[in-house]
Amino acid sequence: MFMPEPYQIHQRLDALADCPHWQRLTEGYRNMQLIRTFDKKAVNLQRTGQLGTYASCLGAEAIATAGGMALAREDYFVPYYRDHATQYLRGVPLYQILQYWGGDERGNAFPADTPASRDLPNCVPIATQLPQAAGIATKAKLTHEHAAVLATCGDGGTSRGDFYETLNVAGVWQLPLVVMVNNNQWAISVPGQLQTASRSIAHKAEAAGIEGIRVDGNDLPALLEVLDYALDKARHGKGATLVEAISYRLSDHTTADDASRYRKASELHTAWQHEPIARLRHALVNARQWDAEQETQWQQHCRDVVDDAVKTYLEHPPQVPADMLDHLYATLPASLGRQRQTLSRQQGDPHA
């Protein structure tokens, strides 16, 4: 069984020979490819005015895929905004992910029959999802569920008090919580060394008396091992874990950003040498678990699935204006009746 070494960066891809889980890894590989295909398409949709500002997950595929694969159905997922792969693996259809980034609240109405049905939607105000994740973990603990909560944030998110307040209560209350930080080295234009002087992000666990683990965020098998370990620990009432997954943001921050203003092309170039998908493919091919033909077929499949999702997204009829009042309260307060009337009248008249 995997036992973490305190604050050593856990890696696995370079020593896969003894890995008995080839099937899980090829499945993981497929997921990562799919989400990268989706991601490229989403960026394109934004560039052509068919999607709003979009946060790419380029470089975060292994982290988010590992999250989605390690979580059990009964677990809870509390994302930040680069976790498309996890959301997809929890059962959110790709077209809903597009809806969300397309400025449509229906993208958060995850299907009832999926593990995602209870998950929180994307969180935009940085780190505010973390105390909520602690609240969900408290609920799971109080009601004796055999379930863990996985919450994510970025390296920038670790600077907000919420991050620390969450770890602290998770320590005191021994919550079934795993906080995974996608340390992609940048918070928009702010590099890690301007974000914190701590020896590592995992070391921040010391402040809360919980376990901190570092893992190569471009190494899917390592991530799976670490998450299996931490989630299992949580489910068995053995306390919370902070996981620092070290990656690199290969994209601009979002489609509204131009990273060339603040980081060197050479740095980006180097980072591409370690990107998670090629590394895993290389390992799988070496181990004869994957070949060029499979690759071609799967890539075609990814394109088809994504094209389908785009079609569904684009063909969805728009919401009606009154929707903006109808979901706010469980039942519309009488005092809002007049406003709703105005909105209903507006309906259909694009210039009203």
């Binding site: 609240e105 939607p121 969450t166 706010l328």
Partner: protein
């Protein structure tokens, strides 16, 4: 103190904080999803004793002392509520609620909305508020207007033990997030009969506490007492004042307010909070739009000054007095 067997059949004399305590007890007895959290609420029973005895009865799993962090308390509550618990969180004083605002504005109030009903957030945040008890600085705030401007967040303020009981029961049953502000000056002011078996009170209604034809006095929270006293004074001068306790600021029961002022033609609005941007403005604005043609005199707001609540040596000079309310009402009668 609490014993489910001895559930009383009839009205009990309770002060406001005892009524809160009873409402919590009853809600926790009726619904196992109700849990309490906050600072010093378990062993200590809350600094005002609102949660006294509840830890002993329901155990530490349902009455949780949190680490000292209001943002955390709010965030924990949002998380719990999103998964079907009904957290009732105490913020020790309203002056310490600001760290919780982000969770309330950006999450609690819009979770149902942004998930199109998939998730909801039935939490209650309780906080003692208002001045008049010679408390240290930051302990006497009345910033209800900030919250009443947040769509999706209900803001409820009781002004008597029975309304405290009935409104808190309703707030805890409510599927929407509720900010429940308790006028701490009234906590131990008087014991009045509270019928524990009464139905919960509506969370979208004003209460007309006293009928009258000449002028409408509108208030909420502790200021209801000065307002009622002012109505007494006015009665002695032959002026019949209708007194309305707004009770729920959001959603606002404009109909009751507009109907009353349409009848009387005059309105004085009373609140402790500073004048500019206080919730009195919303009510006056409603009258200026929906009752304008019936208004016979300028709408007056008798409020705190546009300054933070002073340290307690001067808090009396700050808070609206019976005299200021009476003077405002009499001035209106001259129109």
């Amino acid at each position: 103190m609490h014993n489910a067997q001895q559930r009383p059949q009839h009205a009990l004399p309770l002060n406001l904080v005892e009524a809160i305590n009873r409402a919590l007890f009853q809600a926790m007895s009726d619904d196992h999803r109700v849990v309490l959290l906050g600072e010093d609420i378990a062993t200590n029973g809350g600094v005002f004793r609102a949660t006294e005895g509840l830890k002993a009865h329901f155990g530490l799993r349902r009455v949780m002392d949190t680490p000292l962090a209001e943002n955390l308390i709010a965030g924990l509550s949002v998380g719990m509520a999103s998964q079907g618990l009904k957290p009732v969180a105490e913020i020790q004083f309203m002056g310490f609620i600001y760290a919780a605002l982000e969770q309330l504005i950006s999450h609690a109030a819009r979770l149902r909305h942004r998930t199109r009903g998939r998730l909801s957030c039935p939490l209650v945040i309780r906080a003692p508020f208002g001045g008049g008890i010679h408390a240290p600085e930051h302990h006497s705030e009345s910033t209800e207007a900030l919250f009443a401007h947040v769509p999706g967040l209900r803001v409820v303020i009781p002004s008597s033990p029975s309304r405290a009981y009935g409104l808190l029961r309703a707030a805890i049953s409510c599927p929407d997030p509720v900010l429940f502000l308790e006028p701490k000056r009234l906590y131990r002011l008087q014991r009045l009969p509270v019928d524990l078996d009464d139905a919960p009170l509506p969370l979208d209604r004003c209460f007309t506490l006293r009928p009258g034809e000449d002028i409408t006095l509108i208030s909420w929270g502790a200021m209801i007492h000065e307002t009622l006293a002012a109505a007494d004074h006015l009665a002695q001068a032959g002026i019949k004042a209708e007194v309305i306790d707004v009770a729920t600021l959001n959603p606002l029961d404009r109909d009751t307010l507009v109907a009353s002022v349409s009848k009387t033609g005059r309105a004085v609005i009373v609140h402790e909070a500073p004048f500019t941007g206080g919730f009195g403005a919303e009510i006056a604005a409603t009258l200026a739009s929906d009752a304008l043609m019936q208004l016979r005199a300028p709408v007056t707001r008798v409020t705190g000054y546009d300054t933070p609540m002073p340290y307690f040596a001067m808090e009396r000079e700050y808070m609206p007095s019976v005299e200021r309310i009476v003077a405002a009402a009499k001035q209106q009668m001259e129109y």
